[in-house]
Symmetry: C2
Subunit: 327 residues, 2 copies
Amino acid sequence: MPNDLNAPLESAADVLRAASDVTLLAHVNPDADALGSALALGLVLHRLGKSVRVSFGEPETVPETLLGLDVAGLLVPASAVPAAPEVLVALDTGSVARLGPLADRVSTAGAVVVLDHHVSNPGYGTVNVIDPTAEATALVVLRLLDVLGVELDEPVARCVYAGLVTDTRSFRHASAATHEVAARLLAAGVDAEAVARPLMDSHPFGYLGMLAKVLGRAELIADAAGGRGFVHAVVTLDDAAGLRPEEVESVVDLVRTTAEAEVAAVLKELRPSSWSVSLRAVSAVDVREVAQLLGGGGHRLAAGYTAEGDAADVLARLRVALETVAG
Amino acid sequence: MPNDLNAPLESAADVLRAASDVTLLAHVNPDADALGSALALGLVLHRLGKSVRVSFGEPETVPETLLGLDVAGLLVPASAVPAAPEVLVALDTGSVARLGPLADRVSTAGAVVVLDHHVSNPGYGTVNVIDPTAEATALVVLRLLDVLGVELDEPVARCVYAGLVTDTRSFRHASAATHEVAARLLAAGVDAEAVARPLMDSHPFGYLGMLAKVLGRAELIADAAGGRGFVHAVVTLDDAAGLRPEEVESVVDLVRTTAEAEVAAVLKELRPSSWSVSLRAVSAVDVREVAQLLGGGGHRLAAGYTAEGDAADVLARLRVALETVAG
């Protein structure tokens, strides 16, 4: 982690030490990194005697796979978040809008601490600790815990590990320093397989049927992405019935393994004629540029946008944008 | 790694230091741990001025995904392995039989060093370094390299990482010490994503079609495995056409994610009416016992066997064995 984050880390620690009541918020549709980060820090602050709650804007229900991280019962529904929090901590949330229905708390809170790793984060807090080199926000939180001087025990380490293992796709994207962090978390007693399996390797049987339908319709188009292939698949609402959002999201991780393809796209139906599109590239094509042409954003090798129309139209517009960017 | 391996490690180092010609053998159908381990040690011995070759019994062709590990051109076909090697090193090879057509070299070699992590290894060498607690044979090799006192540079570290990342299923099964090893390998300059992608995350487009067909036929049978579910899928020769053995093998990693199932089985057609069956359990059922009833073996949570007959017969016999073991 860059040294120039030392000053904001000290400021964040000062704000939290002085607080008596802390509200920690994850982004809407929180994943293991957002909720794990919030629960790790929340648990530590709770033990320091502060009044603590963890929440997020929508949906109201906590993903079942993440309930096990809340050992101290800190999670509350959005309706229980104070109108004007004393101190607000926003975790893994790249923009105010990503707080959803709780976005207004950024302006009503006495202080706002932003802990994040999204390069696009504009720094909307009174204190901003944003490290785009961190593979997970959980790593930023761990650094803050070290500044706070708290001991890392199993329940806290488990929450950090949950964020780390998922955001690195099980250490596919992990530096030497990140493996050293993993070693430290496991040494604190984390049962890595027990934490990771429900988050990444456990799906209802219907998941296999969904994959069968979706992968059976996948198409590879040669020479459609910078001289290499373009592979795409479509997940309808019907395909996705009964599955969690991250299970549907994981389809792109299979589709992108296509060796002939430089770019992979998965269209997920949000509502009839409304789609969320995930784009992935291997190395050569900048899919953020493609997504930006279509009103979205992201990173060079992973980006996304939303689109209206039928799937064939959405794909046709995507191919035009791909042609524009990748020649 | 257990301290009681210090003595055999020193003995193995002594044998290798004294050798002028070393033959390193992986098991038949070598994976990244077997070949990565052999190439890591082979490269170091080659630099120490010894005459070195790396080989395996069958098939004659090196998996394309592993060719990049052979930076010094040490791989030779089985026909180039001397009839009576001066020193033979068998890597990741749990039994003499797993050397296939080269198994006879164990009796003709001047000395045999066995480096392995299979608990079932009987220790068929003159020196045996077998650590069943190691997640990969590559970890045993790394320990030997440390005893040999060689510096870990990128080409060697890359071979070790290839074994480690694949045998741990991308660090799903990894201790704190193993993450520390990963940190050390990355610090030596290994490009983790570049090494791991072709080994684990790159498949021909036909892989998606294979999954669609195979997963579309998967079946879940409630209460058929110790009161929980039993899920199975069948991969025919037709489904598997054009795919690598490890790509077909990876099907079980998807099938086993079925949350309702305690036991997962995948039948892979070897020849018409001949099947290789992979079994996986979550925690409660000992699938090694199931496999042993059917003539196979393995570990408590991962085992296998071969069977003759049509798929329905093979499944029927499997269900009887499962009933016997799991009640």
